[in-house]
Symmetry: D2
Amino acid sequence: MKRIKIKFLILALVLITTLPVFSQVKKNSLKLPVIPGYELLKCDFHMHTVFSDGMVWPTTRVLEAYQEGLDAIALTEHIEYQPKSEDFSSKDHMRSFQIAEKTAADCGIILIKATEITRKMAPGHFNALFIKDANIFETFVNKTNTRDGSNIVETLGEAKKQGAFVFWNHPWFQHPENRSEWQPIHEELYQKGLISGIEVVNGERYDSLVYKWCLDKNLTIMSNSDIHTPMVQYPGQYRAMTLVLAKERSEKGIQEALVDHRTIACMDGQLFGKSEWVKPLVENSLIVKSRQINDKSASLEIENISGIAYQLVVLDSPGIKLRLNSHLNIFTIDAFSQNAITVSSSKFVKGEEYSVKLNVLNVQVAAGKPLEYVIKFRL
Amino acid sequence: MKRIKIKFLILALVLITTLPVFSQVKKNSLKLPVIPGYELLKCDFHMHTVFSDGMVWPTTRVLEAYQEGLDAIALTEHIEYQPKSEDFSSKDHMRSFQIAEKTAADCGIILIKATEITRKMAPGHFNALFIKDANIFETFVNKTNTRDGSNIVETLGEAKKQGAFVFWNHPWFQHPENRSEWQPIHEELYQKGLISGIEVVNGERYDSLVYKWCLDKNLTIMSNSDIHTPMVQYPGQYRAMTLVLAKERSEKGIQEALVDHRTIACMDGQLFGKSEWVKPLVENSLIVKSRQINDKSASLEIENISGIAYQLVVLDSPGIKLRLNSHLNIFTIDAFSQNAITVSSSKFVKGEEYSVKLNVLNVQVAAGKPLEYVIKFRL
Amino acid sequence: MKRIKIKFLILALVLITTLPVFSQVKKNSLKLPVIPGYELLKCDFHMHTVFSDGMVWPTTRVLEAYQEGLDAIALTEHIEYQPKSEDFSSKDHMRSFQIAEKTAADCGIILIKATEITRKMAPGHFNALFIKDANIFETFVNKTNTRDGSNIVETLGEAKKQGAFVFWNHPWFQHPENRSEWQPIHEELYQKGLISGIEVVNGERYDSLVYKWCLDKNLTIMSNSDIHTPMVQYPGQYRAMTLVLAKERSEKGIQEALVDHRTIACMDGQLFGKSEWVKPLVENSLIVKSRQINDKSASLEIENISGIAYQLVVLDSPGIKLRLNSHLNIFTIDAFSQNAITVSSSKFVKGEEYSVKLNVLNVQVAAGKPLEYVIKFRL
Amino acid sequence: MKRIKIKFLILALVLITTLPVFSQVKKNSLKLPVIPGYELLKCDFHMHTVFSDGMVWPTTRVLEAYQEGLDAIALTEHIEYQPKSEDFSSKDHMRSFQIAEKTAADCGIILIKATEITRKMAPGHFNALFIKDANIFETFVNKTNTRDGSNIVETLGEAKKQGAFVFWNHPWFQHPENRSEWQPIHEELYQKGLISGIEVVNGERYDSLVYKWCLDKNLTIMSNSDIHTPMVQYPGQYRAMTLVLAKERSEKGIQEALVDHRTIACMDGQLFGKSEWVKPLVENSLIVKSRQINDKSASLEIENISGIAYQLVVLDSPGIKLRLNSHLNIFTIDAFSQNAITVSSSKFVKGEEYSVKLNVLNVQVAAGKPLEYVIKFRL
């Protein structure tokens, strides 16, 4: 049966806000398990529209997010970079927010007031979320050199005054060697409490050094699309997003969670986050059933109820012979799929508990360090 | 990331029964929801191996079934058609069962003793499940005309004596016009209680006339692959199978359910079964969340937690304007996916309950009659 | 190997026009065979940007077209419907053309000056291609009732004066019953030579009645996307487009071909066009090799070198037994694939020529009439 | 439109050899370009059926090969390992060849007489192709220790006497460390001219050390599936095969090419072969069109007309600035697809020739050494 094309469905969505008729849209939403005690929210805190250097109308950003099942987004237009300004009648930096607001409400998406503060590297670019008004930031722009970063402390100070949550965007961007470098100005901003998070992931790029800084300095892990062009995702593929473990599904809930560092970076099937948060995510994604085959072997059926494929590698476990066939030491449990693994022991005793240790390769609890995942089973 | 190829994984499975090492297999198992009070078992009661006119070794049939997550299978070799017999040393009609038995036990699959009784049309072919010994049926074969159907009553009488459950296979097969016809001999077999079920689906073919007979005569709905060649399924595609609503996952449980007509035919994303059985299957597959948008519109998010895609069409419902956009009057909720639909009313009153009526096009409660499915929601 | 995501590649494309560095883009271009004597051009003559009621910036339309391998496009902004006008500083109706022009030149895409003339049904909407200036059409708009169609003859007369090629868009649009109706005003426009083509396909909809009119009245077959939202296509899926058989790849070449009715509508794997144009397209898409198996059977291997899947049904042919297996009377030769068919005859004579007649179901030479396709082979 | 399932099509194929009716099969054949002067044949010289330790009937191996568009196969049953022998009436080691012969002829597939000579490592397993009779090899089997390799020189000597082409299979197999080791017995066999080829690829495994030996010792590169279970391939995926550059499409042509080392290993989208053979394969797969954008930039459109995806990386080229965007230094041209790349120079002079150097990562001309591929273009 032919797949109904996404383009048409987005068209249908457009109608929601204009025509009082029935419509439907096929979503492409990353399915995540429930984590007890939290609302696990899918957020993208960095994107652009025609009101800075993006290519789509603000409402389109909301509808794209709706289709991907996001809970919250922020339109982060550049204050200092407005390549289309001659075509626009207004200079109000809140215009894209104003245009998108009603559509967001209709779609049940939390639209966060935000802006991107744009300086040459160093210091680079910063997003300020939960601001009150973006226009005031224009007063800090050096009109003869709009990207001059000399007054970044004052600028981010204003953001702080507004109660904003500020993070450093794509720290490698415009670095002469295209790599991330923690420079004195970043140390100063950090020491003064002017940056609270950092993009470990931006678009298609994950940076392991930034992840290391992030954990070492106890900054909040951020992961965003920074999309400028239309968002195109095949079914089962998703933009870079920040998973937020909030106490409630609200702007306030998100802000509290960001301040408390309860986030996971999610990009292209990979997760980056503290063990404390990614472990329950994995454990609630995988359901294991065991079955004894005979004295010496047992079968474990692992079902993945999430939309994330997990890449697993089996480690030695006491009393259990876990030598994988040479080609099978790494295996993947696809989204919504089941794999069966057979384990052998010199002797399986009925009623006793066994455990198998695995590493989850696509879930990193620190740069280069996979999550350890233990399957316990009783025969 | 590259998909590991199925062929290799089946190879790995082969090892399960021979080598005492760890192995794993990626399953391609149709995910079904839990139906309270029943074990919903996936069964295929019709297939062949090299021991009649099939092309694979009996253990391969078990491993194919294991990979597809089946609960029970029956190897139904023809008594009367043994094109490879000159190559085989034994004439034992239970040989394929004997060879497959241990692999089935290791895989946790219920292997049912069975055979196919093969006559020219009319009367055609019949499968006898839960037999004790297939060899005795050879005594009924007319050696000069092996497909002579004149003693079919005696033959099926023997099956009945063994306590077998007998069903008529692909009633259209070898009919001169390739269609199903209920002939006097079938009426006789039916009146004498010698056939209890009928294949509404065989392989790629569903027959609506047979479905009508099946319900009219209160026969058990059967749906089987009748596979002769290797079973090749892409991920997310599944063989024709009979879904059995058993009280326990055992041979006995299956037999009791077959006798009590608690089955659903499942083929290529379509279900054929009594409303009594398919309705809870659909209702437990789809989870609906409602959200009020404004006075006049509400959003329903429907999540499909099953592996079956549902094709829905919206019907008029009292007080709710359900005119779909012209292109969207039929929509599909893919396996493990979510769709959002927007409904409008002249006025939605907080706290009141509303209902939307739909037809499920790929679920037929009688020939040509889709299941009615009602979504109730309170705003 | 992971597919590189389209969104990123479009980003890369954006760079083409701004940065003098190497970049690459994965195209999703419908592969068509060479038709001797013609340039077979892929065109989309109907689309919108933020400069009327579309959702993307004009350059994005060019880049989308570049990625789909189109040869020519037209931005057809509504003169009379400018929902975002308060946000824009200019009222120039050529603004979207001006913005897109350089990108089109860089991408080697023919950008045709065009506009959409927008009236209530009847008469409905019309596109004028190859115009000189869109702004003059504003003088015809009734300011108190912008969609008033009373002066449509004058308006299209002005288009004619500019040398434009005018076609009627989506004739069913805003008809109270959502169907196409040839009303007196259309007859008048037609009689006066003010419309030369008609959209047989618009977006996802093909209209068989319009196709009938088109052939009966010798209008030019048009097929366009009318895209408002971002264009999202999976690999191997393509927008509705008009295939133009031009004598040269230029704006002039396209205009000459449109006037001479040398077009094919292409939508979702279906072609609608005169036998004269679609027959060579199909014949140059399929390469057949024959091989004798024995006295009574021969094998035909058909290779499809195009990106269009063909659905074929075999018809009776003299002297050749072409009874398909019941399930196989219709078969599909996928894009870039091969199928092998086996044909039988009472006796195949070496050196003699045989022919097999087929219908191509997805190629309609008139409404509901499939193309006949004959395979000739010599053994 | 629903894909017709492979299982059904193979069923249809079965009919070819039994019923005199029309049938068709959808092939999944790796499309290769024409290499002038040669027939590029797709071959698999290593596979098993139920007549040794395989799981399918011999005709099934032919039909699988037919569907994948192979030109030649060899059924290489073990002489010494016959786990199903008690079920078979005959001990004739040519039985699987005899059963498959007619189907191969009907399908136009070259079926090569062959066997696998099976010893413990060292020396391991060897395939002998183009033998006259496999039964004579049984005389060399040590009946009390069937895998005893002490008389391997005599055994392979007999193969040589029959005019066979012998190659060493999966040199890593049953090595205690699962790696390949060139042991004295291999040196002896090599010095005596008893082995002429070696499996660089077997099933899913490519061994770079074996590839090095192969080129250093001027052995023939072999790549085979060694399939035991049914062959399951998704569309666009293909078994490991040996591409043979033959002077004619015949058994004799294949034998001459093997002896002359004109082969390429093909596995999972990767090619391993001498530059002399893989270079024309790549060059005939990719068609490049150039177009000047302006003084400083040009566009190259690369079309892949083959079924192999090529992974390319751009290298520095004189006078051309080829700095790829950081994320795009490696790119893939999918099967039957087009990519467009933009190159910049300080000044492009009309009429002059330029060249861009690339490496083709998935084509290795020696272990770890990618093919160099140069695109020349004139603006």
